[in-house]
Amino acid sequence: MDNKIDILISPKLLSIDRCYDFVVNEGCGGICLFVGTVRNRNKNEDVTHLEFEAYKEMAVKEMNKIAEECHLKFKAKKVAIHHRTGVVSITEKAVIIAVSTIHRKNAFLACEYAIDRLKESVPIWKKEYLENGSYWVNARP
């Protein structure tokens, strides 16, 4: 694993500090972090919690690809992408993306690019639990 990239898929609580500490370095001036948390409402329904399932080996590969793209497209110095699996409660962190760059503009661009791409291509699935039932998000036409 390249030491410019830190990828984690874990059933344990995610740590912003761990992501931040990985990406910070003497040559960077800007760090952008995105944290996706679990909301208590979606489409006007009360959400009790979520459950994430991952095709772990492939998801790690896809997340590495995204991080590499951040380096190539946005000259990112370091990139951390961490994703939860299993049951995730309201306000808990589902995903953290951290990017350090020399200048701040690219930190924002890379971080947003990474979360957009993650949602498109990384094989992770989310089941949303409501008061009366559950369903796999995005699965229905």
Binding site: Y55, M58, K61, I115, S121, P123, I124, K126, A139
Partner: protein, 78 residues
Amino acid sequence: MKIKCFGIAKDITSTETLNIKDHAIVTVSDLRQWLMTNYEAFANVKSCMVAVNQEYANDNLEISDLDEIAIIPPVAGG
């Protein structure tokens, strides 16, 4: 041929790993056809991707028992 099932695909097939013995399955496209035929519920799912050896695969890719194959329903990470 073993097929990993995730998310809604696991619910539909009721298993994490489908074990298919059908020599008519040569390509990804054949596998898709087999799934639609054997599990009608896939008709109610947005189109799935298929991953071969942990990479998204085109329909015309040939597959064999040696490949790691997975059904990838619409992803929803983040």
